[in-house]
Symmetry: D2
Subunit: 91 residues, 4 copies
Amino acid sequence: MRGYSMHKDDYQRRLARIEGQVRGLSRMIEEDTYCIDVLTQIASVSKALQGVGLGLLDEHLRHCVRDADARGEGDDKITEAMQAVARMLKV
Amino acid sequence: MRGYSMHKDDYQRRLARIEGQVRGLSRMIEEDTYCIDVLTQIASVSKALQGVGLGLLDEHLRHCVRDADARGEGDDKITEAMQAVARMLKV
Amino acid sequence: MRGYSMHKDDYQRRLARIEGQVRGLSRMIEEDTYCIDVLTQIASVSKALQGVGLGLLDEHLRHCVRDADARGEGDDKITEAMQAVARMLKV
Amino acid sequence: MRGYSMHKDDYQRRLARIEGQVRGLSRMIEEDTYCIDVLTQIASVSKALQGVGLGLLDEHLRHCVRDADARGEGDDKITEAMQAVARMLKV
């Protein structure tokens, strides 16, 4: 079982909202909305995306890493999780 | 004229692709894709979003700020642009 | 004249404080301070550093870019400033 | 035993170098170095700081969280680690 499957609906609701926000960005540009207002909205979408990422990472640590730990394979999972955090920080 | 209206199609193409990527994220979760792979994809979407933001900021500095400068109102525009950069950095 | 030379003392005061905070981090590790507390302090130092960066960028836009603009070389300066913002966002 | 005590020297060497870099930033401003070059150097110092943070987080997950897990207190430690990641992402 994958960790975040527990809250699958929750992730999908959040992603559906983000998808709507991205469509909204396209509309803002279509309507020549003031650039700074588009930038504010982009910051809000990025934050929402990072929220989904943090949720996945949380579940990953709570489930995948622990399950792997029980099989003596936790170290690789932690390395993998750390690489994911490093990628999140680079964005 | 708003600065980035010059490349309107370009922004909309990029945003349409991001929208597709967000839909892809939802599908990945639907199909129980391994969390780390979803996180990698989230980092890629965030980067694409930041790219759109940088494009808007670039046009803003090249057009809105200069136009405002010509009217003697450049300082307020720069303050506003800096606040937008600060918000982008906080994400 | 370089833009931020106006507030030179201010930047140096802020950097002296950051230097002290980095020394404090070293002491925290020397004394086996709890990792999460060290991480909180690192986030605070990073934020202070970004603050200095935002200040420099602000002055850059207000002075160097405008001076270059008056000489018809503003476009290159904006490109350069945007590359600096992109680097700040990647960290 | 705190996890990162294993590499204490390593952290302190890295922090000593960061401290030197911050001092270098102060010197750059003292000498009116071109703002964009100072910004490039700030990005490099921030990256080095984040590297120290990632190292601490890695050790935290490998040691503190596992030790807590063995005592049945792992969940709180993961929550705490996730809050630290969220703070790192906000910078």
